[in-house]
Each structure stands twice: as C-alpha cells, then as structure tokens.
Symmetry: D2
Subunit: 131 residues, 4 copies
C-alpha cells in the first residue's frame, strides 16, 4: 500500500512541501484503513462479550468510527479536496472512540489495541485536515 | 422506506419537536439515498458521453458526492449524533456537484435531473446539520 | 429514484426485452437500497431492545444483509455485468435475514416489516441474477 | 492490522487447522484492503491519463473491483459465513481487472503494480472461498 509514496519519489518536479504532503496523505490513508479494520472487527468481538461491551452506544460509536474512517480513506484515494473536511470529523470521532474503548475495556487487549489505532488515525487526520 | 416516520407516529410520549425532527431525518435519509443513487448512476453515463462530461474533475466531484451522501445516510441510520457533521459537509459537496452538473450539461436531462436531486439533498442536510 | 425507468422510456431503439430488463433493474436497485436502509436501521433498534434481538449472530446477519444490498445496488448503478453474481448472493442473504427477523421478533412491527423488505429484495435480486 | 493473527496465537485451545484458517483470513482481509486501495487510487490516475486508460469499461471494472474487495473485507471483518461467497466473486473480478490493467497499461508502473495487487488478492480470496 505505498503507491502515493512511490509516485512522490518518481515526480522530479514536485517541490519539498508537495512531497511531504503526499507522504502524509499516504500515511493517513493507511491509518484510516487500519482504523476502519480495527473498529469493524471489534463490533463482533464486543457483541460476543456481552455486558458493557455490547452496549448500544458503544457499538454505535465503533460503527460510526468505522464508517468515517472508510469515508476519509475514500476521499483521499479519489484525491478529492473535500478530504480536509472528512479528515477533520474523522479525527473527532476517532478520539471519542479511543476514549470509549479505554473506559469500557481497560483490561481487554483488543479494546486497548483499538484505542491506540484510533489515536494514531486521529493524529494523522488532524494533520491532513489542515491541507 | 418510512420506518422513522412510522416510529414517530407510534411513540405517544414524543413531543411535537421530537416528532418533527424524526420526520425531517426520515426525509433526509431518503434524500441522501436518492442523491447517492443519482450521482453513482451519472458516473457511467458521463464516462460514456466523453468530452467535458468525462473530465477527471467532474467524475471526482460526482464520486465524492456519492460517497458523502452514502456516509450521511449511514450516520443517520445508525442514529449517530455525528450525523450533524456529515450532513453539513454533505450539503456543501451537493451544492458544488449541482453547479458542476448544470455548468457541464445544461441540455442533458440526466445532468439537470441530478442537479435537482443534489439541491434537494443539500437543503435537507442543511436542516439536519442544525440538530 | 426513477432514472433507469425514465431512460428506458426515452430510448426508442431499445427493443421490448431490453426495456423490460431496464425496468427490472431499476426496481432492483430501489429494492436493494430499501433493504440496505431497513437492515441498517434495525441494528440500533435491536441493540436497544437487548435480549435475543441483540444476539451477536442476529446483528451479524443484519449487518451482512446491509452490506450485500449496498454492494448489489452499487454494481447495478455502475452497470457492471457482475451484478448477476452479487444479486445471486444478495437473494440468499436476504432470505436468511427475513427468516431470522421473523423467528426472533414475530410480534415486533419493525422486525416484521424488515422481513417483508428482505423478501421483496430477494425476489427482485433473483430475477436480476438471471440477466 | 494483525488482530486476527494475534488472536490466533493467544487462543491455546484452537487446533492447528483453525489457527491456519485464521492466518489465511487475516491475510485475505489485508489483501482485500490493499486491492480496494489500489483500484480506488487508479481511477483518478486513469481519468487524468485520458485515452484508453479513461475508457468507460476500464473505469467500470476498476470500480467494480474496488467495490467487491471492500465488500469481501467487510464480510470477513464481521466474521460472516457469507465471506466464502463474496470471496469467490472477488477472485473472479480481481483476475479480470488484473488482465485489463496489463492489457491497457503494460508500460505504466501504476497499472502493472495494480495488476499484481489484484492477482495477490485473487489468490487469497480463492483460498478463503473454500472455507
């Protein structure tokens, strides 16, 4: 999954800031797809656990995070200028999802891992929302 | 596709503003799905027409509009509070897409029709972005 | 959402079977989008109900049905020849989902309604899977 | 994106074939997401190139491949039994897309790269379609 980086390195006329932006966008697509996967896989895990894990609001937040990560990835893969807007919302939802995972499953390795993936995606999307 | 309206009418304790909000959200999901369909179907039409219709920026805007309409519909179907954010962006992209369709295909019935669907979705999403 | 029908009626050179096929496909896209909506909205309803409604296998089947209906609609909106394959699987999953909704919520109006929407989508997809 | 592998390695009661299956599914989700990305990013590249690259049938096939890869990934992430069906179709579409990319852009590095990603995804999905 390194196509954007490769393109950057083979475009001699791109100046430094443009190359830097492509590297950041490439990382952001990767982080959005990882978070899309992590949240999507956590839904059946949480439903199987039951109790607080399967609470409707927690499943809703995981699902919303999955949807917005997929959407932000799609906007960047299209090279749409609107990725700045979707990345901004994505960062907000990822932060909320990370907090919810840590609150509900502080000792559940899958929940802790997902919280980390959400935070990395949020950081990456925040950088992109400025471009 | 009237489930939200039906639920509204069978919930006696809901007050007037809550019922009104459910009716608006029900319409907005419907408008987002119609616009998702209209923009998605326009992509192969435009590619088949060639020329200005198949311009990369026009196809990109149609595709971005299709993606955000699907996303806004999903957030509302999930009953996620974040639909206010996705509806706000959706309105922006739908207005840009409507203008582009009218500029490129003023005499093409499918383009004119899509512009109308985009405007109706934008109006509906603007109302939802306030709730 | 009648663009395919409209196009059919304004294409004088299309012969009878081609017009008939476009009408069926138009209906099938509509049925897939309705079922995508019905199953998507049922997930938060079932999670809120708890008990058997919120069983992991039931939520998984509703989610799988939502995903395949969205996919079949997309393949037809793209005019992809592969819609015959996605419609065939869509019919299978919709039938399984209808049965599950009726088994779990025989007296729940939203579950009964969703079962009907799934059956209508299955019938429609079965016709398309032959074309 | 290694959650399935991690789970496999920390489940002592899973027998060898079950562990093997989880490793294959984990790889297949990864391959589907890579192919979803590769095909999605190739669409704006091809539209920008024009000529045969921007041919409506080629864009349609890239789009169909992107849709089915996303769908197969979602079915596996849900742990839905229907992933066998979506993986089977995914393999078929990925092979067709790989051939089309090689036919149209034998000297275009992005097209060649995408063909390879499609072939790897097809191989992986074929294995999963048997389970």
């Amino acid at each position: 999954m390194e196509s954007q980086t490769e393109r950057a390195s083979t475009t001699p006329s791109a100046d430094a800031s443009e190359v830097q932006m492509r590297i950041l966008m490439n990382e952001c697509v990767e982080n959005c797809l990882s978070c899309f996967r992590s949240c999507s896989e956590l839904v059946p895990h949480c439903l199987g656990m039951g109790g607080e894990h399967a609470n409707a609001d927690h499943i809703r937040l995981l699902s919303a995070c999955s949807v917005i990560c997929e959407t932000s990835a799609k906007m960047m893969m299209l090279s749409s200028e609107y990725h700045t807007e979707t990345c901004r919302i994505c960062a907000t939802i990822c932060r909320a999802c990370a907090e919810d995972c840590e609150r509900i499953g502080p000792d559940d390795p899958m929940m802790s891992r997902c919280a980390g993936v959400c935070r990395r995606c949020a950081d990456s999307c925040e950088k992109m929302s400025a471009h």
